[in-house]
């Protein structure tokens, strides 16, 4: 049964059929009967002995995934029990107090803005993405290396390019780290935090 595309081919919405149901088609596609069509301007990636076909979008916004994405966000508001975080996505994120610190916090005694203020930047992990909530995305800082970030530079890139920056099993990002002699942390939402040990070098 046919595969209509070749590896690294650019496909466009509609007109270009990708493959039939005999293939493992994933990515930004839609099915019309037994044929998958590309839904976006995308790049074809064929793996797994020509069985797995993926359409990788070349542009687009960040859609949170429940799988525990690490994201970089700005604190934009402080609520009674947590912080509202801008993660550059149509779905707003919330960081509840109990996910922000390891110690239990007495909300009557502590002012939340002393822990995280508006404008602070956090490196956080998505622990829940639930569209029935007012803030669909729930974040946590309770892990090593997560938390408020200070110093260095924050670079904004297209969220669809994050996979290219990370590279196959992190190969690209480790090249960056070695060549720059800097820590490079990539947020899945298209924000890259670069912190160098020797700013003058």
């Amino acid at each position: 049964m046919p595969l209509y595309v070749s590896d690294k081919q650019i496909v466009l919405p509609g007109g270009d059929a990708v493959a039939t149901r005999d293939y493992n088609v994933s990515g930004s596609i839609y099915w019309d009967g037994d044929v998958a069509y590309s839904a976006v301007v995308g790049l074809i990636n064929i793996r797994g002995g020509e069985r797995d076909v993926e359409v990788i979008p070349l542009s687009g916004i960040y859609k949170p995934r429940v799988g525990g994405d690490i994201v970089i966000g700005y604190v934009v508001d402080i609520g009674l029990t947590g912080w509202v975080i801008d993660i550059k996505s149509p779905y707003s994120a919330y960081l509840p107090v109990q996910e922000a610190t390891l110690k239990p916090i007495d909300l009557t005694a502590v002012d939340l803005k002393n822990l995280l203020g508006i404008g602070d930047i956090v490196l956080a992990r998505i622990i829940d993405f639930n569209l029935t909530k007012d803030y669909p995305v729930t974040l946590t800082l309770k892990e090593t290396r997560l938390g408020r970030i200070e110093g260095g530079t924050l670079v904004e890139i297209d969220a669809s390019k994050v996979a290219r920056v990370i590279g196959r099993r992190g190969s690209m990002v480790s090249i960056f780290s070695e060549e720059l002699n800097c820590d490079v942390t990539v947020g899945q939402n298209g924000r890259v935090w670069i912190r160098c040990r020797d700013p003058g070098g």
Binding site: P13, D16, A39, V41, L58, G60, S160
Partner: protein
């Protein structure tokens, strides 16, 4: 003023001849996606923002995104004096018509509780602005990476001096006997917008559709080339 003399139209075109089409994508940095499209002297800019949060919470839908479209003519876009920038009755209606033409194309179910905003700004008007706007909006949506079932092509068909013609200009629009704007998902062979005024016999409607699909084929091909050219490296053949 005669609109058809010896088989030639007021601007020298043949009845089945489309005006030259120009397209460019990614013209506005602040937008998620954008496009500039010209059908002859009709020049339209489209910008797409989103999917983003719906500012008025009561408008959002739990199972899909909403689409908001604004068709607007710039004050300097017309040949007869300054057009008031306030959205007119006509502009509000065309916004709605373009929205319903775009809705079947966009896979809105992929982004529940969000809005996709499409701004269509007519920079210069010389007839066929709603169909040029549809082509521009479709390109801008694809440029924004919004999931779509196909690319849309807007084509207008008209009737002047009893002859069916493609792509009306301002004169033909004003003094012709009928016009029929169409939005075509060319890759899937579907029509998502079909309006008409004037008198049409069923045979003339068939002829109009025939003509529209022929014109749409060219425009569809140009849309694909334009979107691809953004990602293909410029040819190195000139380097010695």
């Amino acid at each position: 003023m005669p609109l058809l003399v010896n088989g030639k139209r007021s601007d020298g075109r043949l009845p089945n001849e489309h005006r030259p089409v120009r397209m460019e994508v990614g013209v506005i940095n602040n937008a998620e996606g954008s496009a500039l499209v010209a059908y002859g002297n009709t020049v339209i800019l489209a910008a797409v923002y989103g999917p983003r949060e719906v500012p008025q919470k009561h408008l959002e839908l739990p199972d899909k995104a909403i689409l908001r479209v604004r068709y607007h003519m710039a004050p300097f876009s017309t040949s007869e004096g300054r057009k008031s920038p306030t959205p007119s009755r006509r502009e509000i209606e065309i916004s709605k018509v373009i929205r319903t033409a775009l809705e079947p194309v966009i896979i809105l179910e992929r982004f529940p509780r969000t809005t996709i905003d499409v701004y269509i700004e007519v920079l210069q008007a010389d007839g066929s602005t709603r169909v040029t706007g549809i082509t521009a909006a479709s390109l801008a949506l694809a440029d924004a990476g919004i999931p779509m079932r196909d690319l849309l092509v807007g084509v207008s068909i008209g009737k002047v001096s009893g002859t069916i013609v493609v792509d009306l200009n301002q004169l033909e629009d004003q003094y012709g006997e009928g016009d029929m704007p169409l939005a075509i998902m060319y890759g899937r062979g579907l029509i998502t917008l079909m309006q008409a005024d004037g008198e049409w016999t069923p045979a003339e409607v068939n002829q109009a559709l025939d003509l529209a699909f022929k014109a749409a084929e060219q425009i569809y091909r140009l849309e694909k080339e334009t979107l691809k050219s953004k990602y293909v490296e410029p040819s190195m053949s000139l380097v010695i």
